[in-house]
């Protein structure tokens, strides 16, 4: 196969994927383009992370620098073991960094006391690949926990906020259901609502769609974009799927063996991938487009 020709048509298609598919205006993205990096929300400065167990020493993160803008959806992509999970977990200090700093609104979270950290974490929501809902509690009780932990005693306040958020995620009829009765997509919606209970300014998504089927993935990503537009929060997500990045991210950082090897506007990275790791991650989409060319541009099933 002629690699060169394939790549050119692929670049075109990638542009299509990244640009024309924008259903909703990428407000923040446009802003960011006009005045680059003026509104830094999360700053990662020279972060390194080393795990030691016995004599084994694994360098999971090396010299990571990121500037994440307020209100943008920032994607971090890499294959398993690239360090993206470690990286996102340093952003709310589920993982302590070995070197460097994580600054949120200019505050180094590495120096916060235990109580101050708990407080800071209430301003950073997080959702996970496996949802991590409490099976012993109903949807409503799950949503109540972060607010109870924040010291909110007024049940009315908790209830009204929970109901608002359940409406936002489209599960207003499930408030008294236990998680075991929900589908994967519904569980993730509950997890999103739970993460938003304390009115965070940042939402971290740790492989949030990796356990979901493509249709549900799409619905959840739409919801995340919707939330970003409605609430204006910064969304940072990690994934191993370029499709996820292309669907909602404004900017992307590509990780490879503990380092960020490439970062920038999604469209740009798709059009002109610089690093071998990026090309490898784009390969599935490339293959799909090539197959589509073989099959013909007009899908037969419509």
């Amino acid at each position: 196969m002629n690699q060169r020709v394939g790549f050119e048509s692929f670049a075109e298609a990638a542009e299509l994927l990244a640009l024309s598919e924008t259903r909703q205006p990428r407000v923040q993205s446009a802003q960011a383009r006009q005045s680059p990096l003026t509104n830094v929300h999360v700053e990662v400065r020279g972060v390194g992370k080393v795990y030691t167990s016995g004599r084994q020493r694994v360098e999971a993160l090396r010299n990571i620098d990121l500037n994440i803008q307020r209100g943008e959806i920032f994607g971090i992509i890499g294959r398993s073991g690239a360090g993206k999970s470690s990286l996102i977990r340093t952003l709310n200090r589920l993982e302590d960094v070995s070197e460097g700093q994580v600054l949120i609104d200019g505050t180094d979270i590495g120096v916060l006391s235990r109580d101050a950290l708990a407080k800071q974490r209430r301003r950073i929501g997080m959702i996970f690949q496996h949802f991590n809902l409490l099976n012993s509690k109903t949807v409503l009780q799950n949503l109540a926990l972060p607010m109870k932990a924040a010291g909110e005693k007024d049940v009315g306040v908790i209830l009204s906020r929970a109901r608002n958020l359940l409406q936002l995620v489209g599960l207003e009829d499930k408030e008294n259901v236990y998680p075991s009765r929900l589908s994967g997509g519904q569980k993730q919606r509950v997890a999103i609502a739970r993460a938003l209970m304390t009115k965070p300014e940042i939402l971290l998504c740790d492989e949030a769609t990796s356990a979901l089927d493509p249709e549900t993935t799409h619905a959840i990503l739409e919801l995340l974009n919707d939330i970003r537009l409605k609430l204006g929060i910064t969304v940072i997500l990690i994934t191993h799927e370029m499709a996820v990045i292309s669907e909602i991210c404004d900017r992307v950082a590509v990780m490879h063996e503990g380092e960020v090897v490439e970062q920038g506007e999604v469209a740009l990275v798709f059009r002109q991938p610089q690093h071998q790791a990026t090309r490898a991650l784009l390969a599935p989409i490339k293959r799909m487009i090539q197959r589509a060319e073989v099959f013909g541009h007009e899908p037969a099933y419509t």
């Binding site: 235990r114 974490r121 209430r122 997080m126 996970f128 809902l133 972060p146």
Partner: protein
């Protein structure tokens, strides 16, 4: 079976229920506390203290390894100190509690460890303090397994109470030994065994149902 024997049987039943019931209350709280400590003080736990964890783990193993009948005798000075006597129902509560607590702690520990690290992490990420994690995450999430484990512990405690009977604690075991074994009265022995079977079945049934209810709601 004479009226006298039936009365003795009823009294012995009450003694057993008392012994096991009172011990069970202590074992529930002490065992859970110990189990929580074993889990949360482990390396990477929310109250990480590996040294204390290792010491306590060894202590628990020590008590678990000692046969109950030996513990029973070895604890006599402590029993006398706490209850002022070494015979009777109250005296039996001391060794039963001390032998069942580490047992239940280990069982509770297994259930608590099965609460996924992810769920604890989610709680930390939402700003829960350690107290919230224990009472809102670890305990409720592990509860079905803990209830199942406590049921097993209760049955083991009924067993132990029969042995405690051998050193004058009273109860069903004592009755079975004195009448059934020492006086060759097989009918009493069988009656005691029947009562014990019913008692164990009832406890197991209730425990299973409750654990099932918690697990599959």
């Amino acid at each position: 079976m004479s009226q006298r024997i039936l009365e003795a049987l009823w009294q012995a039943f009450l003694d057993t229920v008392w012994m096991v019931g009172a011990s069970a209350v202590i074992v529930w709280f002490a065992g859970l506390a110990l189990g929580l400590f074993l889990v949360t003080s482990d390396k990477g736990g929310i109250f990480a203290a590996p040294r204390a964890n290792a010491v306590l783990g060894a202590l628990v193993n020590g008590f678990r390894a000692t046969p109950f009948i030996i513990l029973l005798v070895a604890l006599i000075p402590l029993t006398r100190l706490l209850t002022g006597t070494t015979i009777g129902v109250w005296a039996a509560i001391v060794p039963i509690t001390i032998s069942a607590t580490p047992f239940f702690a280990r069982i509770a520990e297994v259930s608590l460890r099965e609460v996924g690290a992810g769920v604890v992490e989610a709680a930390q990420a939402m700003g829960c303090k350690r107290r919230h994690i224990i009472f809102n995450v670890l305990l409720p999430e592990a509860m079905p397994g803990i209830i199942g484990g406590f049921t097993i512990t209760l049955v083991a405690m009924i067993n132990a109470s029969a042995m405690a009977g051998a050193i004058g604690a009273g109860g069903l075991g004592d009755l079975a030994i004195r009448y059934g074994y020492q006086r060759y009265d097989t009918a009493v022995m069988l009656a005691v065994i029947a009562v014990l079977i019913v008692l164990v079945c009832v406890i197991q049934y209730i425990g299973d149902r409750y654990a099932h209810y918690l697990r599959y709601r």
